[in-house]
């Protein structure tokens, strides 16, 4: 069945594939988050670069303005001797120094820009010293000397150098800004691409997972349909066994009995009619067992109709039947205490006859089979014991499972009616009454099956005649015995 093999392989590889898919998904999500954070940081770095460059340029411009204002003030004072023109000059030194320090802060740590700023600082000092000297001469009333200093051109030369250096620093700043910003932009783009790629991968994984889930749902639906078909098939099977076979089988059995009772048959014809009867009875037993099995298996449990019943009476009737059929075998019975409870007497008979039947079948022929029914608080305990070869240790734990025949029966191969369902059905009947069953078996102890049946609801212990009256009052006289006997006969013959 290649299709089945494929299926099983696919299902086996599912958990491993699932684990891999989950790992890949988690890694991809981590990658996407990491890349997005990196992109955001690169973008922040780029705007930081822009902002710093702008601040540095503005510091540079302010520095030049301070110097120009100082120079303009000096010229105004020389022309008018009005000290108010000196105001821009008076605080020019700290202001220019402040702008230079701001510029230095942005100039980074490479040697060249710092050297440029230092040079700018010393040029600024020289220029301010020059202005200060000129103003001092003017204040001393030496106007002509002061004008001479200005005409000397030293001040203009220093100022020109300051401008040239400032222009170089500006160019430097712009180059650095462009370079850093471009790097940051490049990084942002790279991380964004990685984020996008991760997102696409996630999308693909989600699509795959969705497809897988859809397939899973379809498989589940298919399994569900198959299970449904199975249940329908089983129910149909029950219908066939439980309904369609019953009528013709009953007709066969009734006809065989009719022929036997009618008489007038020769010996060979009588034997033939007996064979028909026996065959029909065997089919009947198998059909009943399969019916019980399918009922229990489909989860309905074995149907029971509890009523007030006396397990002592049921047990006595079952044993009487066995003694009649197998007079050579010894069956010892002990019935003690109160046998009354709320049970299905027919099903109780089925349990007892199965256990006693097994004990007779598998037990030693020399030793008696012992049956005891005793009180056990709110329950009765039924024990069926036989001597002989014990149940093998590897069989014992599974003895109540369906279709597990006894080893001996399998070896003998003569027990055609042993479907391996008897003990399973017994267990189900006991369970339907809320009871338990267990088996123990060993060479020295022999084999014992113990059934505990709760009285359900508990009937208070009473002197022997009272329970009988109770049973009689709830049913027609003798009907309990009759129904117990009926089922005993139906199940065992």
């Amino acid at each position: 069945m290649p299709a089945r093999d494929d299926d099983s392989k696919r299902f086996k590889s599912l958990p491993a594939r699932g684990a891999i898919a989950i790992a890949v998904t988690v890694l991809t999500v981590a990658l996407v988050i990491g890349a997005a954070v990196q992109a955001w940081r690169s973008e922040a770095r780029r705007s930081e670069v822009e902002r710093e460059a702008l601040a540095a340029l503005s510091a540079l411009d302010s520095f030049l303005s301070v110097l120009k204002d100082a120079e303009t003030g000096e010229r105004g004072f020389l022309l008018t001797q009005d000290p108010r023109y000196l105001e821009p000059f008076l605080d020019s030194e700290p202001r220019a120094a402040l702008e230079l320090s701001r510029l230095r802060a942005f100039s980074g740590d490479s040697a060249d820009p710092r050297a440029q700023v230092d040079a700018l600082a010393s040029l600024m000092s020289a220029r301010l010293e020059d202005l200060k000297a000129t103003i001092a001469l003017e204040r001393a009333g030496r106007h002509g000397e002061a004008i001479e200093v200005v005409r000397g051109g030293e001040g203009k030369r220093v100022m020109d150098e300051i401008r040239a250096r400032a222009a170089r620093i500006r160019a430097d700043l712009l180059v650095r800004r462009d370079r850093d910003a471009a790097q940051a932009r490049e990084a942002t783009r790279r991380w964004l691409w990685i984020t996008l790629g991760g997102g696409a991968l996630l999308l693909a994984l989600t699509a795959l997972a969705g497809r897988q889930a859809l397939r899973g749902v379809r498989t589940l639906a298919r399994d569900d349909r198959e299970r449904q078909h199975m249940v329908e098939f089983q129910q149909r099977l029950i219908g066939i066994i439980g309904h369609d076979i019953r009528n013709p089988l009953s007709a066969i059995l009734a006809t065989a009995l009719f022929l036997r009772k009618h008489g007038g048959l020769d010996e060979a014809q009588s034997r033939a009619v007996d064979r028909i009867g026996r065959g029909g009875e065997r089919i009947e037993r198998i059909a009943n067992m399969l019916l019980d099995y399918t009922h229990a298996r489909l989860g309905h449990g074995i149907p029971v109709s509890p009523t007030v019943a006396n397990v002592h009476e049921v047990g006595a009737a079952v044993l009487e039947e066995f003694r009649a059929v197998q007079p050579s075998r010894q069956v010892e019975a002990v019935f003690e205490g109160n046998g009354v409870g709320y049970w299905d007497p027919g099903r109780l008979a089925q349990v007892l006859s199965n256990l006693v039947g097994n004990a007779l079948k598998y037990g030693s022929r020399e030793a008696p089979v012992r049956v005891s029914v005793r009180d056990a608080e709110d329950a009765v305990r039924i024990e069926v014991h036989n001597r002989g070869a014990p149940i093998p240790g590897d069989v014992l734990p599974y003895i109540f499972e369906p279709f597990r025949r006894g080893v001996e029966a399998g070896a003998r191969g003569t027990d055609k009616e042993n479907l391996g369902l008897g003990l399973y059905i017994v267990r189900e009947i006991v369970a339907a009454h809320g009871g338990t069953i267990r088996a123990r078996s060993s060479e020295p102890e022999g084999t014992t099956f113990t059934v505990e049946l709760p009285r359900n609801p508990p009937v208070p212990p009473a002197p022997e005649p009272l329970p009988r009256e109770k049973a009689a009052s709830s049913q027609r006289p003798g009907s309990l015995r009759r129904s117990a006997r009926l089922v005993r006969l139906v199940e065992l013959r």
């Binding site: 059995l253 027609r476 009907s479």
Partner: protein, 114 residues
């Protein structure tokens, strides 16, 4: 000779039971369905023993009608059913397929009782 009202849908089984029961000395009145069965029941002088296939059409209704018609001293009603029918003291359930000897035993005894 005791009357037996047999309500059974399967014709082979009905014929087989009729042959067997008549051979054993019963007067068998066979019927296929509800109306016929109740008419037969009413026509008889004394209430017969009843064999009812619970699964014939209207089986549950026939059972109810028969239980209400037969007095407390009447013979029990034997019902063929795979599932145990609702318990009534006058109803005896027999699961199909049944052993005809068991059936004869029950029938003989309950007819004597009645």
């Amino acid at each position: 000779m005791r009357d037996v009202l047999l309500i059974e849908g399967d014709s082979d089984l009905r014929a087989a039971l009729r042959d067997l029961l008549e051979l054993c000395g019963f007067q068998v009145h066979a019927s296929l369905g509800a109306h016929e069965a109740l008419a037969l029941f009413d026509r008889l002088d004394r209430p017969p023993c009843v064999l009812l296939d619970f699964e014939v059409h209207g089986g549950a209704e026939i059972l109810k009608a028969l239980v209400s018609r037969s007095g407390p001293r009447a013979a029990p009603i034997i019902v063929f059913s795979a599932e145990p029918p609702p318990l009534d003291p006058r109803v005896i359930a027999v699961r199909k397929p049944f052993n005809p000897e068991t059936l004869l035993e029950i029938l003989t005894r309950s007819c004597q009782d009645a």
